[in-house]
Symmetry: C2
Subunit: 241 residues, 2 copies
């Protein structure tokens, strides 16, 4: 197989780094088709674990420095796991995070990590939106992408119609949301709805569910997107664990 | 003056980008010594504001594309404001964020932005720690560095001794903190104490003040540092604004 830098239309993607690769090997080993090790990868518990899982699962694992020179710019990347892309369905009865037109891959990864952390394992993305299979997203999630379900929708209306239960509670996060987050009881199953980094949510979301805002001073225009999302997740799940 | 890429020992630093530069021009114009505009900078309200402040304050403002080729790798950077470094004192009676050995400049910038947002305008950094005057930090803060006080200390003990009031409440954030954040009443003035990205706080902080933890699933090792800090700030300030 020819090794090439990731493009959105590819059927394969990859994990850059030992921690990230190990997450996929642990959580979705059936999606890992090949593991490359760098010759400079030191002996360690992590290396043993990676080699053991590959052996047990029959995943080819080889030392191949050339792959690293093509796929990785980082000096401290010693493992690359090749991943067969897959599609997920969201859990209709579970809680969701909905990202409307997310634009930044690092932010997407950080949000995925927080979702996994707070046990909200379903993420809807309203197009256009960053490609969750981009290696930059997977890396920023520290491999937590393996732990969540995510699905793309062409519009908010398509997502809304996909629910069908009628029991879902929608919470759009807006700078002029009518309720303060910390005074709002977040009912389950919830969908926390977050807008684009630069533009936020369209004004039409003021009529969707219960618009909330995170109170802050006017020293900043807005909190950054992963931070607003994570504060929402924290508030919605505290006391659950 | 010869224009060179930033080094830690320099007496000057700089803001990359219009928004970032405008923050310094608005909040700390006395620290801005020179503003460079790119010839491709389009006419806009922002450009007018920048030129007006420079005129009113007698800050030299010139079109000079060469400066951009030296200082900026980003294509969308059209303004650079040169900043004379300054030192700040922390407000002894105000609340603080304490960063023990912060390692990442992007994270530092995001934390600064959240501090400004939640009105906690004093940040102590325990050495070794990332240089807050690094242009990468200033840019990641979106210029909010101008709105906070920050000060370096050689050790936790030096910071602790600098207080003197005896009325400060310390909250170290630890994965094994004895109290849950959402069940803890954060008393003012507070110091939220956050460890390094990779290593967290040393175990000795278990004996400092009231160690707290943010509850999450074991799907992740820990939340990322700016997110944990911002959740702490949110919880400590909610209802204040």
């Amino acid at each position: 197989m020819a090794i090439k830098r990731y493009k959105k239309e590819d059927l394969m993607t990859y994990c850059l780094g030992a921690t990230v690769s190990l997450e996929y090997l642990n959580i979705r080993p059936d999606k890992v088709t090949h593991v490359y090790l760098h010759s400079a990868f030191y002996e360690s518990e992590t290396k043993e674990k990676i080699e053991r899982i590959c052996r047990e699962r029959g995943i080819p694992c080889e030392v191949n420095d050339k792959v690293f020179s093509i796929l990785s710019q980082k000096e401290n990347c010693f493992v690359i796991a090749m991943i067969k892309k897959y599609s997920c369905d969201l859990d209709k009865t579970g809680s969701h995070v909905v990202l409307v037109n997310p634009g930044n891959s690092g932010n997407a990864g950080t949000i995925i990590r927080s979702c996994a952390g707070f046990g909200v394992k379903n993420i809807a993305i309203i197009r256009p939106g960053v490609d969750f299979f981009d290696p930059k997203v997977i890396r920023a999630s520290m491999g937590a992408l393996s732990r969540v379900n995510f699905k793309y929708y062409d519009s908010w209306e398509e997502y809304e119609a996909s629910d069908g239960t009628g029991k879902r509670h929608f919470y759009p996060f807006m700078l002029d949301g009518s309720s303060l987050l910390h005074e709002t009881k977040i009912e389950k199953p919830f969908s926390l709805i977050m807008g684009n980094e630069a533009t936020g949510l369209p004004a039409s979301f003021a009529k969707v569910g219960h618009p909330v805002r995170i109170e802050h001073t006017d020293n900043i225009d807005s909190l950054n997107l992963p931070i607003a999302t994570s504060i929402g997740l924290y508030e919605a799940t505290k006391g659950n664990f």
